[in-house]
Subunit: 390 residues, 2 copies
């Protein structure tokens, strides 16, 4: 297996190489990329070799080139370098560049016969139609690396697609699951960054606390599994053991479970259609004792409702939702707005966008333009909020 890792020094990259080390699976590295971590890239080349190594930050290119001089490894940088990495011949591409920066290279990586392991949210949230069209056209295999969608993918094997009645993603409910509306208003960034079950970056941790993360996952599930909003559901499950459930029309329900560890779904994607052998953490339900489930509260956690509305509105609305949310989360982390201000900003931006009825972005550039405008509007609203507060 020739493997390319876009975002090789981040969490998906680290997990990928660690799993390949442990499993003893035979592979060769085609291309690896990183935003700026030249040392990380160089260490990977020393261990695994690589045909092409790309640092996104052009300012770090010389450093990379010098470090790899004489190794026979090609180097490149910038967005063109990322595209070259995506296009380097490979059997599997781990798409682990997070954020909007992952959009263009991940799209370019979708090529006939390839396996694409998707860990980037924006590809589906901001350009889902475009992205899935390219997957269909190329006949590439798309495997979702995050635990919920990966669980859905596994569970779907149990029956024909047309017999799926409902797909349910679980949400931990975040650290404020039991907070009152008043308590939520006083939540600090420090409190919000302490996630009860998953260890993740700060943006996604805040999204987990607001439940926007689950809202974005609903949008992803819509694209990944070609299901309308009304067949998609969220269930709060604080232990994060059951990741998703697929309900078939005959009453049978098939669920994907595991210890909450991001390496497990990545291992599934790497091994598929086989299963990787590695030192996987074992699920022990007798020791866990009890799994609990509750419906999400749309009053205290409006983000889920906003995401669902964006999904139902379609067109550019999910792209706008995502951009507004990013700006609002940044503002919350910077102490500029309160926790409940996050969905408030998003809702206001969506209200303004509703009248425009922008269609789904047809290109990466169009998605970027929609994203850009939504961010400007969200920032304007931040000023407005600040003016009111003072």
């Amino acid at each position: 297996m020739r493997i390319t890792v876009l975002g090789a020094t981040g969490s998906i990259g680290k997990s990928t190489f660690e799993l390949l080390r442990q499993s003893g699976r035979e592979f060769s590295v085609s291309a690896i990329t990183a935003k700026s971590d030249v040392n990380g890239l160089v260490a990977l080349v020393r261990e695994f070799k690589a045909k092409l190594v790309v640092v996104a930050d052009p300012e770090r290119h010389r450093e990379l080139r010098d470090a790899l001089a004489g190794t026979g490894t090609k180097t490149a940088s910038g967005s063109e370098g990322l595209l070259a990495a995506a296009e380097e011949p490979a059997d599997a591409v781990m798409a682990g560049i997070t954020g909007a920066a992952g959009l263009a290279p991940t799209l370019a990586a979708i090529q006939p016969g390839r396996r694409i392991v998707l860990a980037n949210k924006e590809c589906l949230v901001c350009a889902g139609d475009l992205f899935m069209r390219r997957v269909r056209q190329t006949g590439a295999t798309l495997l979702p690396a995050d635990s919920e969608h990966n669980a859905v993918f596994q569970a779907l094997a149990a029956g024909p697609r047309e017999a799926v009645e409902r797909v349910t993603l679980t949400a931990s409910g975040g650290p404020f699951r039991t907070f009152t509306r008043e308590q939520l208003e006083r939540v600090t960034p420090e409190e919000a960054l302490r996630h009860p079950t998953w260890s993740m970056g700060s943006k996604i941790t805040i999204d987990s606390a607001t439940l926007m993360n689950k809202g974005l996952e609903l949008i992803e599930a819509h694209h990944l599994f070609a299901l309308p909003a009304k067949q998609l559901d969220v269930l709060v499950h604080p232990q994060s053991i059951v990741h998703a459930l697929v309900t078939f029309r005959d009453g049978g329900v098939v669920a994907g479970l595991s210890v909450p560890d991001m390496q497990i779904p990545i291992a599934h994607c790497l091994g598929w259609p086989e299963r990787l052998a590695w030192q996987a953490p074992k699920l022990d339900l007798a020791q866990i004792g009890s799994l609990s489930f509750e419906a999400p509260d749309p009053v205290r956690f409006p983000s889920l409702r906003l995401a669902r509305a964006a999904l139902e509105a379609g067109g550019a609305t999910p792209t706008i939702l995502n951009a507004a949310n990013e700006v609002a989360v940044e503002a919350f982390l910077a102490g500029r707005i309160g926790f409940t201000g996050i969905p408030a900003i998003v809702e206001r931006v969506l209200e303004k966008a509703a009248a425009e009825r922008l269609g789904a972005p047809e290109t990466v550039n169009a998605a970027a333009a929609v994203d850009h405008i939504a961010r400007i509007r969200a920032r304007d609203l931040l000023l407005e909020f600040a003016a009111k507060a003072s």
Copy 2:
């Protein structure tokens, strides 16, 4: 679909016809059989027609023949009649005759290209090697109708068989899950017949209370899924929502869930490889709230340990276990021994058998002979127990 229902007036038969009614699935009835319920058979012929109708009790044959005179439906009776029903051309056979009586006709029903929906336990427990060999030789498709094995079957679709690390069947734990050893000694048949989650016959309800039912299911799972005892596990789960879990070597776990309703796995078997549309009861985890799990207690519930030992011993031991257990359960229901006497009888019979190391029965007659001898020994022990008690 041409369908034959062995045991058409029992619970699997009733469920089968009710599901076919509700789903509007096109089918024709090949053969139906019942132990003695002539009225039930005649009603089914009036509604669904049938090529061949068999009443096992020869004394009821004239009544059946007279009732169906002029309808063009063939009738038969006795064990030869049951074999004729099994051999009547059909695409699917619902094997719903319970007990040892189901062994010969179910075995005869396994024919090339057929789907066999198995609801009879004895086929696998008492003659598993023989039975599975015939399934392999004919290339018939074997679908398990009980909820645990059906859940395993569904979950296994998520990965290649060689990547299965563990199959876990859940057990409700029965009505005495929290009883002390002393309380268990005083349990009455009436108490034991009140099962917390499933509504079933009295033999299987007692087996659920002792956990022998789960032990027999371990033996069935061994044959159905070609897994050794050490890869099979039992987890007590009082709500009976999660029926089974399959753990793959990469850390992923896929589980089958549903409302505890025996029609759901039967619907799966009828619809397979599609999914039947019917008024299936919906699983609502938010409403259920909590699912709990605990390891079974081998001290208070020795039957599970005995069954596992019988599975590991192999040969004729599972047949002996099953026969001894049937005799012991009958004696308990008749008030002749206490609840804890059931595993005590079984254990003693197994001890006596251990030295003989009988091989796995190669024919139905051989299985019947082993069964017969084990019953005699169990009955002898009952007399011994009674003599001691008086």
